[in-house]
């Protein structure tokens, strides 16, 4: 069984759906979004709290409301939505083809262009190398929220939250909703990383304050978790926190399997998603990527705007079959203060990235820092007073793209006056 479409989009989260809508608005006839879940919408479906839609829809919605908005908009735009359809790999042979399994069968979906929008997931305790017992009561936020909001499962009595970024406070809200008391948040970093309102709100409403500079050393207890062993990084002192639940939040990894399974797609060494240029094109002609797969992770509105931007680029590519894609362009490297930059490659001095901004992911805290973009000896851009917060975006404008020498050495972004 086989099918053909103009554009196949893998992942029906905010970025995939926004891309699909943009493609239809640009006049592309057949746009298919393929998602393995039983409903479209991606991660927001199970984030039952407000905080969605500010930058893209200019209003505040809950996660499920936001997901519904995009699903309905995609349906109205005439996007072909396919749920319960898992893309398991690339079909062999010439052209772009995706192997798809669904209750309707096993098929190859052929497409002129493919957009990867498969998102990101949180690293679990093993992926973070946390040793100890394998008792029950160990969650990521994703699993926790599905247990609570989809199936109303009992979770536990006392929970420790690992992480102190936005998603960690989302986990706190979910735990409270499920009647679990939160004994604390812990982060290896020297400060919490979320908005003051979340942080202060959690402190005021639930009496929860993050413990900073603390590392999780082991999980104890079986068949049920009974305690989490913590170490203070400054003096090496250890304590065991008595709890029956632990939620590992944040520490995202791009869901990059399809990108890595394709020899033609370069994968970024730090962000681990496909390397894309400012239009969202990967190193493989006809394959694009957007959303949290490329920038693990930003908020949903940013992912959606990244999808919309890539969708528009795909539509142009279908018409022009842009030859620039075959051209290597120049990579963008970062110094040690930054983990990654998105997009990570420049192939055209005319294409701005989504929102006209590059997203940087800092490795450290800094309040008023100067950042600099260089190519060889040349400084292309220089900006002062930037704030750096790990796990949060630092944005820089993209006007300097015009000055890039596409045959020159790698671009470099880093701290520097």
């Amino acid at each position: 069984m086989n099918d053909t479409t103009d554009v196949a989009i893998v992942g029906g989260g905010p970025s995939g759906l926004a891309a699909a809508i943009a493609l239809r608005n640009a006049g592309v006839a057949r746009v298919s979004v393929v998602d393995r879940e039983s409903a479209m919408g991606g991660i927001p479906r199970h984030c039952a709290h407000p905080g969605y839609g500010i930058r893209d829809l200019h209003r505040v919605l809950s996660g499920p409301g936001y997901a519904r908005h995009y699903v309905q908009a995609a349906r109205r735009a005439g996007v072909h939505l396919r749920t319960e359809s898992t893309v398991t790999g690339w079909a062999p042979g010439a052209g772009l083809g995706l192997e798809v399994t669904s209750p309707g069968g096993r098929e190859v979906l052929h497409a002129d262009a493919v957009l990867l929008a498969s998102g990101a997931r949180e690293r679990n305790r093993s992926a973070r190398w946390v040793p100890g017992d394998r008792g029950a009561g160990v969650y990521t936020t994703g699993q926790l929220q599905q247990e609570v909001y989809f199936y109303r499962r009992p979770i536990g009595r006392r929970a420790l939250v690992v992480g102190a970024e936005h998603v960690s406070y989302s986990a706190v809200a979910t735990l409270r909703h499920a009647g679990v008391s939160v004994v604390g948040l812990v982060t290896e970093l020297s400060r919490q990383q979320s908005y003051a309102v979340f942080h202060l709100g959690a402190a005021a409403a639930f009496g929860v304050r993050p413990m900073t500079g603390v590392r999780v050393r082991a999980l104890h207890g079986k068949p049920r978790l009974s305690g989490v062993e913590l170490e203070r990084l400054d003096d090496g002192r250890r304590v065991v926190v008595d709890c029956d639940t632990v939620v590992f939040t944040g520490d995202w990894i791009a869901d990059n399997e399809l990108a890595r399974l394709h020899d033609g797609i370069d994968v970024a060494s730090a962000a681990l998603g496909p390397v894309v240029d400012t239009s969202g094109a990967t190193s493989m002609p006809g394959v694009f990527a957007a959303g949290n797969l490329c920038h693990p992770v930003e908020q949903a509105d940013i992912a959606a705007l990244s999808g919309r931007h890539a969708g528009q680029a795909v539509a142009r590519w279908l018409v022009e079959r842009d030859t620039r894609v075959a051209q290597a362009g120049v990579p963008i490297e970062t110094d040690a203060s930054l983990e990654w930059v998105h997009p990570g490659r420049v192939r055209s001095t005319g294409d701005l990235p989504a929102r006209g901004r590059f997203i940087l992911r800092p490795n450290r805290f800094a309040a008023f820092t100067a950042l600099r973009v260089t190519q060889g000896e040349r400084t292309l851009w220089h900006g002062r007073g930037r704030r750096l917060t790990p796990t949060r975006p630092t944005l820089i404008p993209a006007g300097w793209l015009r000055a890039v020498d596409l045959n020159g050495p790698a671009l470099r972004i880093g701290v520097g006056d």
Binding site: S38, W129, T140, Q143
Partner: protein, 468 residues
């Protein structure tokens, strides 16, 4: 009254129960855990050994070699995932290089003649990602990898189909040999059998003492293991073994039949038979070894970490003994090769029960003879999985409804496991039967849905939307 009570439903007890049940005995299999294969048999390195490095002349040497043959044949018929990849035992320094010819000779003493020494360039050609200091290797073409869980499940399923009774969550507390039978006291009442086989793994010394014997003591020897993401699978083609030491076979890197790569195990002698936790020191040690063996491996994501306990004893061999006067047989101390040797141990035990204990058994069926073993679910990466089979999905669309995305486990397979002869009691048990939840997300995407099906039945709807 049963003919035989087997204490312990690990791979060894399961193999014995199967052998005896297929040959007509009325068997009861008793285990303290809530599932079969829930102790050492669920947490090992899953290598199908040839026995090339065993101590020549031991029972272990003989039974591992025989077990390799029996399990390979059985796996083919029962659909147990097994891949005969071959092993390279790599020498990393001159001393180890000098030891390779001796290891080959030892292999020959063990009756294994296909091992040969290969040079550094051949090692590099066959394993381009191994560390730079590989000086040579002993190639052992018949070492393989096998599913650690399906053999036990297949053996118990087959035993049940031949009338065996399985008593789970039942701990044996005491034993009283009588003139023509044994009375076992358990946490779920008395069990009476003409013969008792002790296959209690870590508890085999305790059970042995219930019969008045103190000939060995089990010292749990922990092995910690790290399972890397499937995207690491491209890094190796063989099982990569180290030169063995006094403490055991050493730390290896091997593919798993699910398509991951495994690094381990450690070897730590402990006192606590429940100490199955992993430790900072253990992981640090494995990290260092792994970086040496396959430097790129540590750049890949870790999917899971676990530890198992070998039932080591003060002796250099399995602790198998027959006590016809007490109607008692001990199959203890099956430390680091029992997955491979289980069927051969069972064959040996059945023969002795017939000859020395006068147990009346039918003919041993030939390895490829009737009756057909049960056909187990194809959970191996090298097998055709239901999600890949158009005909199967057409006949039953639930095989196309993927619930665990990372491992591509369908609702149909989960239903089959929940409705099988041996349904799982826990999420862990379901994972061993289907792979559901053992992938790279470790439940981030599917954990809640899998638990839903386990708790509320295989037809429970999987919620799509949250009401506000």
């Amino acid at each position: 009254m049963y003919d035989v009570a087997v204490i312990g439903a690990g791979v060894v007890g399961a193999a014995i129960a199967r052998e005896l049940a297929v040959r007509g005995a009325d068997v009861v299999l008793v285990d303290a855990e809530d599932d079969v294969g829930n102790a050492t048999s669920k947490a090992n390195t899953a290598i199908l050994h040839t026995g090339f490095d065993a101590k020549p002349g031991t029972l272990e040497s003989r039974l591992v070699a025989r077990g390799h043959t029996l399990l390979s044949a059985y796996a083919r018929r029962a659909g147990i995932p097994l891949e005969p990849l071959g092993a390279l035992l790599v020498a990393w320094d001159d001393e180890q290089l000098a030891a390779l010819p001796g290891l080959r000779e030892k292999a020959e003493h063990n009756g294994y003649r296909s091992a040969r020494v290969i040079g550094a360039s051949e090692v590099r050609a066959r394993e381009p990602h191994v560390g730079a200091h590989a000086l040579g290797a002993l190639e052992v073409p018949d070492e393989g990898i096998v599913c650690p869980w399906t053999p036990t499940l297949a053996f118990v399923t087959e035993a049940k189909r031949h009338g065996a009774t399985v008593l789970l969550s039942t701990r044996v507390r005491g034993a009283e040999p009588r003139a023509d039978h044994v009375e076992l006291a358990t946490t779920a009442g008395g069990v009476r059998a003409r013969e008792v086989v002790n296959a209690a793994g870590l508890g085999s010394d305790t059970v042995h003492r219930m019969f008045g014997h103190a000939t060995f003591t089990v010292t749990p020897r922990r092995g910690q293991l790290i399972v890397f993401d499937k995207l690491a699978r491209r890094l190796i083609n063989h099982v990569i073994l180290p030169v063995p030491t006094a403490m055991g076979k050493g730390v290896l890197v091997a593919p798993t039949v699910y398509g991951n790569v495994m690094l381990g195990p450690t070897a730590e002698n402990l006192d606590d038979k429940r100490a199955t936790e992993s430790t900072e020191e253990g992981l640090a040690q494995l990290r260092a070894k792994g970086a040496h063996i396959i430097p790129e491996l540590l750049g890949e994501e870790v999917t899971t970490i676990y530890a198992g306990l070998r039932a080591a004893t003060e002796h250099d061999d399995y602790q198998v003994s027959f006590h016809p006067d007490q109607h008692y047989t001990c199959v203890g101390g099956i430390r680091s090769t029992g997955l491979t040797s289980g069927m051969a141990i069972a064959e040996h035990v059945a023969a002795q029960l017939g000859q020395r204990h006068g147990l009346d058994l039918g003919e041993a069926p030939a390895p490829d003879g009737l009756p057909e073993p049960p056909r187990m679910p194809p959970i191996g990466q090298a097998q055709s999985r239901p999600y890949q089979q158009p005909e199967r999905i057409a006949a039953d669309p639930s095989y196309g409804q993927v619930v665990c995305f990372c491992e591509r486990v369908s609702r149909g397979e989960i239903r089959d496991a929940l409705c099988s002869d041996l349904p799982p009691a826990t999420a862990d048990g379901l994972r061993r039967r289907t792979r559901a939840g053992m992938g790279r997300c470790q439940g981030f995407f599917c954990g809640a849905a899998v638990r839903r099906l386990l708790d509320d039945g295989p037809d429970a709807p999987l919620t799509a939307e949250v009401d506000q």
